[in-house]
Amino acid sequence: MPAFFLMLLLLAGCATSSHFENYPSSSGSNAERRSIDVSHPDRPVILIAISGGGSRAADLGWVILKDLRELSYTSNGQSRRLIDDVAVVSSVSGGSVIAAYFGLYGPDGLDHFADDFLAADNMRTLGIDADSPLTWLRVAVAGPYDIDVMEQLFDKQLFHNKTFSELNQAGKPFVILNATDMGGGEVFAFTPSRFDDVCSDFDKEPISVGVTASAAFPILFSPVAFQNYSATDCPSRPTPQWITTELTGNSEPYINLEQYKKARYANDLRYGGDRFRDIQYLHFSDGGLADNLGVHSLMDAIFSPSNIPTYLLTDINDGYIKKIVVIIINARSDPSSPIYQSPSPAGLIDTIEGVTAIPIDAATASANSQAETLLAELKQAAAAAPVDAEFGGLKVYDVEIDFDQLRSTDEQQKMLRDNAKTIPTSLTISKENQRVIEQAGQILLRQHPCFQKFLVDMKINPLPGFTIDKKYAKQGCP
């Protein structure tokens, strides 16, 4: 009996109230200071998505960014690094750690990332052993770990109380950190326009909160909580035209259901008229639950000026952009399941793992497929454009990076693939696994036919130790 009461006391401790991690906006409108410079048509526009996957993803994103820093071309008689043409980085979970770091410290700051984050035993700092059953027992009894511990780790080691105002500066790339709204499953992108929707001050928001919201591993950690200040601090705002058009158009739900739902979500957040739901509070968990690649926000950045105002589509339509490179970095793990070797049905733990991981992988594959389709359409349109279309001649290089592209016919690559796919999803990564990711990442980017085709078109010499095969590049990148 005493144990029963003790259990009740412990469970009662689970019902903790949240503290809210956003600030009301005084004006209801956040400034967007970033823009994409398209005044040099010889320069490519590079867009990157970095997936979830803990330090494995952060490391892979870091390797790719470093490679882009090492590659350069001549523009206006001067040498220019490819990394300086990175215009948008959309990220999820572990990918958000390196995305925010890159956004804050720039290309030259990448040199310190390994010491600041990858080399550290971050799980030990958090006081969590995710492999131990006792950890999960503790979660089952006492509830998830307080998300503050993760925020404090990111702040202390990486971001040092810096806020999004430091990311939202002229000359900086658009860095879009993505979390999952646990209420409805929508992607919540940390952008000025989304913060407008919840009447919150984007510039005041700590970067560590954004990264944590993107990386808050569900069940293990409590979600990041926001209050929606729309009803209290931004009442009676005019509704943006795109929302009105989407919600009042009779055809929209049939011809573009996804965009209709985005408009409805934005309207709900803004406490607009005829809203579908009243959203007073938001609870964010790992962005990978909704989109583990970050491609939804990347596609919005290209195709939806109302959602994320990069105005890329306008620049494409006006003929200012001649080359777009889209690099989608997928660091997903894929360890062999023990049920493949067992004649017995899957047990409870394996079933729980399956029902959580399989839908995430399926949703990610679907999002990736959508991105591939859109980019293929963009390529075809550019190729078929008549003379009164300024986007004619636009070249699109679709570079998707995935461990499965490491060749099984090459012993070294096969070993790298098998090792990389079993690196656990954790905020700690061993030195040995860092080496695996470093080698795998370099091969994956440099071996990609579309990236090779891009280097040929830009007249960029490949990095030492790698050669470009023009025929392979042309065949593998239609």
């Binding site: 040099h40 035209q241 158009g249 049939y254 573009n256 105002p309 006006d318």
Partner: protein, 104 residues
């Protein structure tokens, strides 16, 4: 501030087969965002105007523009034209058969 456009000589590749609407999305899944094409004329194209879709600039008149499938309120920057806006349903178009609308 208007950006200076580079004076690039347009070189069009040999035209491939046209993008028939049904060919764009063989899976037929209308929930996958798709690209559509719009051509807006202003008077007799004597003057170019920025085209606005739901208040956001998306390009210029007299040029084929790409937009995602959907409904839009199309208007022009500046005044002195009729109608004030057009509500359009942009679907089933192709780069060689864009939707055409005219402002006077």
């Amino acid at each position: 501030m208007e950006m200076a456009k580079a004076n690039v000589k347009k070189q069009r590749p040999k035209q491939p087969l046209s993008l028939h609407p049904q060919e764009k999305n063989p899976a037929g899944d209308k929930n996958i965002m798709s690209l559509e094409f719009l051509l807006v004329h202003f008077r007799d194209d004597e003057e170019q105007r920025p085209v606005l879709a739901d208040g956001e600039s998306v390009g210029f008149t007299n040029h084929i523009l790409m937009l995602p499938t959907g409904e839009y309120k199309i208007s022009l920057s500046g005044g002195g034209y009729r109608p004030a806006s057009r509500h359009i349903i942009l679907a089933g178009t192709s780069v060689v058969k864009p939707k055409v609308i005219i402002f006077r």
